[in-house]
């Protein structure tokens, strides 16, 4: 029987590519006509991505002075993508080591996971044995693992409260995972700063046991971070409502230039007794955007619970993508674990943060120089990649139409898109539309 199966296959003519001729099988159908009507006739076009729209419009603009402030990736002072020297060196070292591409475990590279845990929580907490960390597909994938995990296991309300506003992808990620989404006040438009009283008031109304999502640093999209004092007040309110805390940390090191400073809020919550979960991304702070490197951590009560949780995280990951990508994780762990490279990296990330901070300063100075009578302190008070300028949709439209400055309708700019050659132009343009 087995032999005849073999010879059947050998007897068939091979299929000739592109000729439309099918081997020895006589059934032929004209290629132009489908078997039946299409399956897809009811498929409507999905809504377009707003940020993509900005980039597309920017590309079409022929004004040589055009600026793209929709970009969510760091740019150097020439407006170019930046490969961190520490990352380049790590990649070179790895290349010379001639390693293979064998499957990672479902939870990813274990050294990468340990190093990520330490980076986020600090060495002491990381060594406790009760934090489980798995590799995730950058920040998105790490959030998704967490969302799925909470949807399955969270004993309280399967509802997550996001700050208003939050990163656009938070709502769909949690929604697709089966969680419902609520919000708490956060950004105050009149000051372009934190609405602390609104925030605390809303938090104290959240049903006990719900999930609250906090941006660890460099809030996206506003750039507004609480001060340490404000964080303590938020922590107290969260504790009072017995809320479950989900931290999203996509900018550790990238915000202030200091990795410990940027992790302060996260670590504060943990030492105050909150058993948090954390989504970490290396997209910005290591410039590893397209390599999709991140981690998801759960602070469990003890090592046994950590093990049980880990086993469940694997069950979540396996039917999504089986196991995570390796090359970026190797780079990240090499950078973190090699003393020289780590030192270099800390300098690299501080360099990026410093450039962003200096652009904020120059923009702010530029507006003053232009003679603007509006307050622009928020530009330098806010932190990280993004800045909520306070421009209304009308002013944004004019900024684009009259000055070829591209940004999203909410008035958000990516400070990374600023350079010494265009920041003065932006200050001028912003003054024109707001004076």
């Amino acid at each position: 029987m087995a032999v005849s199966l073999c010879s059947n296959i050998l007897r068939c003519q091979s299929y000739r590519t592109g000729s439309g001729t099918v081997g020895s099988i006589s059934r032929q159908r004209p290629l132009s006509r489908g078997v039946g009507t299409s399956w897809w006739s009811n498929v409507e076009l999905g809504p377009p991505d707003p940020i993509l729209g900005v980039t597309e419009a920017f590309k079409r603009d022929t004004n040589p002075k055009k600026i793209n402030l929709g970009v969510g990736a760091y740019r150097d002072d020439s407006g170019k993508p930046f490969v961190l020297p520490s990352v380049r060196e790590a990649a070179q070292k790895l290349h010379e080591a001639d390693l293979d591409h064998e499957y990672l475990p479902i939870t990813g590279d274990s050294e990468f996971c340990s190093a990520s845990r330490e980076l986020a929580f600090g060495e002491e907490a990381a060594a406790s044995g009760r934090i489980v960390t798995v590799q995730g597909i950058s920040g998105t994938g790490s959030l998704r693992i967490g969302a799925n995990f909470l949807q399955k296991f969270h004993a309280g309300d399967k509802k997550v409260y996001l700050p208003g506003p939050s990163w656009g992808n938070h709502t769909p990620i949690f929604g697709h995972a089966g969680m419902s989404v609520g919000s708490y006040r956060y950004y105050e438009p009149s000051t372009c700063g934190l609405d602390l009283s609104g925030c605390l008031s809303d938090i104290s109304a959240i049903p006990k046991g719900s999930v609250i999502l906090l941006h660890a640093c460099a809030h996206n999209p506003t750039g507004v971070d609480p001060t340490r004092e404000q964080w303590l007040a938020i922590e107290a309110a969260v504790k009072e409502r017995e809320l479950f805390v989900f931290f999203d940390m996509a900018y550790q090191g990238f915000a202030s230039g200091d990795i410990d400073n940027d992790a302060w809020a996260l670590r504060q919550f943990v030492s105050a007794g909150h058993n948090v979960v954390l989504a970490q991304s290396y997209a910005k702070n290591m410039g590893l955007y397209g390599e999709r490197i991140g981690a998801f951590s759960v602070v469990a009560v003890d090592a046994d619970e950590a093990k049980r949780v880990e086993s469940q995280l694997k069950i979540i990951v396996r039917p999504m993508y089986s196991n995570p990508p390796l090359s970026g994780a190797r780079i990240a762990k090499t950078v973190l674990r090699d003393a020289t490279l780590r030192k270099q990296w800390l300098a690299d990330v501080k360099g990026m943060a410093d450039r962003i901070i200096s652009m904020r300063q120059r923009l702010s100075d530029g507006l003053v120089r232009e003679g603007s009578s509006r307050g622009w302190e928020h530009i330098t008070k806010q932190i990280g990649m993004f800045c909520f300028t306070g421009l209304n949709p009308d002013q944004v439209a004019r900024l684009t139409a009259d000055h070829s400055v591209y940004l999203t309708k909410d008035g958000r700019i990516s400070v990374a898109g600023l350079s010494s050659t265009n920041v003065d132009y932006l200050a001028h343009a912003m003054h024109q539309v707001t004076k």
Partner: protein, 406 residues
């Protein structure tokens, strides 16, 4: 003990193949043999980085213009174009007429996930047909997405061949619109593929019952060594006019396992629907992984677009498939020489990475305990784990456990 929301979290049952690999790694016995995980091994039972991959990575390492910027949600265009052409044939009319959509994914798993999720959410499909047996993750994923899972008969333990009557009857009985997961070539775990005549019969039923074919193509080039040969079934269905989903993995045929290089291809009869389908896939991908990893896709795109590299790659495929075929031959010969009870021709008739040996769970457990030979409890071995050095030992192990339990 502090209060925890996780007090009800039980230990999840481990996934068999990973558990076995862990056990194997911890095993100190010098004769141990790993026939579990589906990854190619060279004649020294070592992982093999394809020379063409090494060459391309060297070029990439020396290229200062490369960076790590985000890919589009749908991935690297040069990759998806090349991958889709590789699968369907560059001149395939569906490609020329713009009716084939390719989206980069996290390897084959990611392609399946993206496709299954689209079918469930957007096309509102509720039923899915999966071969008995099939790759474990097909079922896991379908359960996760809350499909109603139907199994169609496939492997016949007594004849050690495909149960065509059962297969066709099960497809015939399926509800209209159900998704049918088909292994394009080198069926996992059995290694047993339908003949071309059998594929035609399968296509007939699928057409008659208006089922939706979803091909899992994880072994193009890796089964016979010939890229076109291994794509025959997929191209046949497309040529017959079926609208179909195809998940494509470059894990095995490029040895890029951990780089997670995959492509989801959707062939539609209606060119107007293509951008609409893409818009939905983008939304689903955005909340799974936002955009796919760049490194591996760049390697594959480079190989497929560069004639010299393409030839190098084909030579690598020949190397791998020749070795696997040789191991199949040797194992069968050894078993026949030993007079091991049972028939063993199926080992050579089966194709690709795996062979469904026909050994029982009892045999398998004994093989592990007595001989430190690791394989899956359903009788699956990864032929790639065999070498000239260990094939005798494995044959003798099989012989021993089969006779012991007779």
């Amino acid at each position: 003990m502090s209060e925890t929301i996780f007090h009800d979290v039980e230990h999840a049952s481990p996934i068999e193949v990973f558990k076995l690999v862990a056990e194997f790694n911890a095993d100190r016995n010098p004769d141990k043999v790993n026939l579990t995980a589906g990854a190619y091994r060279d004649e020294n039972a070592k992982p093999w980085v394809l020379p063409v991959v090494r060459n391309i990575e060297k070029q990439m390492a020396d290229d200062d213009t490369l960076n790590h910027e985000y890919l589009a949600i749908e991935g690297l265009k040069s990759f998806t174009d090349a991958a889709t052409k590789l699968l369907l044939g560059a001149e395939n009319p569906v490609i020329v007429s713009g009716r084939a959509l390719g989206v980069q994914t996290l390897s084959g798993t990611g392609a399946l996930r993206l496709g299954f999720q689209f079918l469930h959410k957007i096309l509102k499909r509720t039923h899915i047909l999966i071969s008995q047996p099939s790759w474990g993750n097909h079922v896991l994923m379908s359960e996760d997405l809350e499909f109603t899972i139907l199994r169609y008969r496939y492997w016949d333990q007594t004849t050690r061949a495909i149960n065509m009557d059962g297969l066709l009857a099960d497809l015939e009985a399926a509800p209209s619109g159900a998704i049918v997961v088909l292994h394009a070539v080198a069926h996992n775990p059995t290694g047993m593929d339908p003949t071309r005549e059998q594929w035609a019969q399968i296509a007939d039923v699928i057409q008659r019952r208006r089922l939706l074919p979803f091909f899992d193509t994880a072994y193009q080039g890796f089964a016979s060594g010939d890229l076109d040969e291994d794509a025959w079934a997929v191209r046949y269905f497309v040529q017959r006019g079926f609208e179909t989903f195809i998940s494509q993995s470059f894990a095995k045929n490029f040895g890029l396992y951990s780089e997670r290089v995959g492509n989801l291809v959707i062939v539609s009869n209606d060119v107007e629907s293509v951008p609409k389908i893409l818009s939905h896939l983008q939304r689903i991908a955005r909340v799974l992984w936002s955009n796919p990893p760049a490194h591996g896709a760049r390697i594959v795109a480079h190989a497929l677009d560069n004639p010299a590299m393409l030839e190098q790659w084909k030579a690598c495929l020949t190397t791998m498939t020749d070795r696997i075929k040789e191991m199949r031959q040797l194992l069968m010969e050894r078993l026949m020489e030993l007079g091991t009870p049972g028939t063993w021709g199926h080992i050579v008739a089966q194709k690709g990475m795996f062979s469904y040996t026909g050994l029982s769970a009892e045999h398998v457990d004994m093989l592990k305990a007595k001989f430190h030979i690791y394989m899956m409890r359903d009788g699956r071995i990864s032929v790639a784990g065999l070498t000239k050095t260990n094939v005798d030992y494995v044959a003798r192990g099989f012989d021993d456990v089969i006779r012991s339990t007779a």
